[in-house]
Amino acid sequence: MNWISNYVRPRINSIFSRREVPDNLWSKCDDCGAMLFHREIRDNLNVCTNCGHHMAITPRDRFETLFDGGVFAEIDVPEPVADPLHFRDQKKYPDRMRSAQKSTGEKEAMLVAHGEIGRTPIVAAAQDFSFMGGSMGMYVGNAIVAAAEAAVEHRCPLILFSAAGGARMQEGILSLMQMPRTTVAVQMLKEAGLPYIVVLTHPTTGGVTASYAMLGDVQIAEPNALICFAGPRVIEQTIREKLPEGFQRAEYLLEHGMLDRVTPRKELRGELITITRMLMGLPPAIHGDLPSPDETSTSSAPAEDSETK
């Protein structure tokens, strides 16, 4: 027994036996910690197959599974002035932007696209929490206005997936001004008589909730999403008491009458198709592939969700 066998060897062993998880093959559920194979989790829309926890999903991944056949046309968003306030905290704003662009491969925190879901034309906009916390600045404002204009132009519904910590502080008052700007966008849809459906995903907080994310005709949230104006920490500091379990989570909001529905991601697409088609006055969606012409003349397809025993 000496220090080599007691101390050095176990250390060396532990270094070599530590099983490193390759970045791209396995990921860990944020909630239950289960190791999930990348294909399995991708097929399950970034929902943990073990505990059902909804992890973040990028707008691009979401659109690929949302639109029919993963086909969508991106809608151009007018570029705002870069760094309008010449903002600098511990880092310069343009540097923060560049590092966010590099880590996400996206230009900004929102993606807007036009395409079909269940053969229903829609415009969709999705916010990217991985891009500077999805924060709402001039670009996000422009994206929502562009999305509303496109929806009005194509006379189709707008479905918006929100995810943001709030306003982008680096754009100061101009980020705050996106609250009225995006509200104008919502009004454009309202006046055109077009559905505006909001899907609140984890987390949606601050100025984003206090504008476009709370003004939908139908408000749906993903399970357990944090949705609030003031965050739980701020409230605890203000009222100096512990908040109840599940406070400001999707189910809590549903209970308090602030949402229409809480829908798991897997069921979301079908539900969005059903709702938009009814609001647009279209016949029920056809499930599965279109039957061939000779088949349609002979058989009437049974409604998929009719409960026959």
Binding site: F87, Q90, M169, E171, M179, P180, T238, F247, G257
Partner: protein, 321 residues
């Protein structure tokens, strides 16, 4: 003057000395001639006040905007309007005293006036919740705006809030939805909507009232997406860096005028509104009249379209605007 801000300390000393000198002279039996010395101190104080307020840093502006003796919403309503008839409640849950509102006449013209009220002493501050509205406050404002629209009355909003109240009940009753709907109500009005930031324009709580055809700001008021302290604690990880944050946020009337967010800066007396509340209130009254005159005669569609265009175009040029 009972309340001096930290950067006004040297001023407090001089003004205190002058006052003391005069008090001694008044009390003593044989009249001393102290006027000359007292006047010299007054002049020194005036010079100091001028130099202190010549170029207030953004953080100092925040301090002035929050000055407890600054005229508040109620002071403006009492002095500028006649026949003020407060209207209460959101017809849903309750009455929020952080928001004042009601029918009133401005130069004999009936209007709807709505504003945040912070209160002036401990009791009223508690009752007013320091000007931090809950959903009921915003929903009352929506109700009053819609009423004004129905009867063709111009709407005047006076903004002075640290922000919407971050409380448990407020969240449960839909703080964010209430604010969003209030902003929407502002944008839907077919009557003129003029807003004056009289103190603090705190984030969403301010936007809910200030999505107006014309937004005026008092010279030392501030309007920001987040408080400098909040911004400092998030971006600098140190709430004590509020001076830097205030600088970076561009929250002064001057910067906001450059950015096009503020249409008009209303000058304040030397040393801030708290040194001459009556004078400040009169200046605001004149500005309100002019701003409403600019909008008079426009039909509902034009007012709505102009307001929307104004906000859609905001910020397209950044600080270069």
């Amino acid at each position: 003057m009972a309340h001096y801000l930290d950067f006004e300390k040297p001023l407090a000393e001089i003004e205190g000395k002058a006052e003391e000198l005069r008090a001694i002279a008044r009390q003593s039996d044989d009249p001393m001639d102290v006027e000359e010395e007292a006047n010299a101190l007054d002049r020194k104080a005036a010079d100091m006040l001028k130099s202190l307020y010549k170029e207030l840093t953004p953080w100092r502006k925040c301090q002035v905007a929050r000055h407890p003796e600054r005229p508040h919403c109620k002071d403006y309503i009492d002095a500028l309007f006649t026949e003020f008839t407060p209207l209460s409640g959101d017809r849903n849950f309750g009455e929020d005293q952080a928001v004042m509102g009601g029918l009133a006449r401005l130069n004999d013209t009936p209007v709807m006036v709505i504003g945040h009220e912070k209160g002036h002493d401990t009791q009223s501050r508690l009752r007013r919740n320091f000007g931090m509205a809950r959903p009921e406050g915003y929903r009352k404002a929506i109700r009053l705006m819609e009423m004004a629209d129905k009867f063709g009355l111009p709407v005047i909003t006076l903004v002075d809030t640290p922000g919407a109240y971050p409380g448990k009940g407020a969240e449960e009753r839909g703080q964010s939805e209430a604010i969003a709907r209030s902003t929407e109500a502002c944008l839907s009005l077919g009557v003129p909507l003029v807003s004056v930031i009289i103190g603090e324009g705190g984030s969403g709580g301010a936007v809910a009232f200030a999505t107006a055809n014309r937004v005026a700001m008092l010279e030392h008021s501030v309007y920001s997406v987040i408080s400098p302290e909040g911004c400092a604690s998030i971006l600098w990880k140190d709430a004590e860096k509020m001076r830097e944050a205030a600088q970076a946020l561009r929250l002064t009337a001057e910067d906001l005028h450059k950015l096009g967010v503020c249409d008009r800066i209303i000058p304040e007396p030397l040393g801030g509104a708290q040194r001459d509340p009556e004078g400040t209130i009169r200046t605001v009254g004149r500005a309100l009249k002019q701003l409403l005159d600019e909008l008079s005669g426009k039909d509902a569609g034009t007012l709505r379209a102009d307001r929307r265009r104004k906000f859609l175009e905001l910020g397209s040029k950044g600080l270069a605007a």
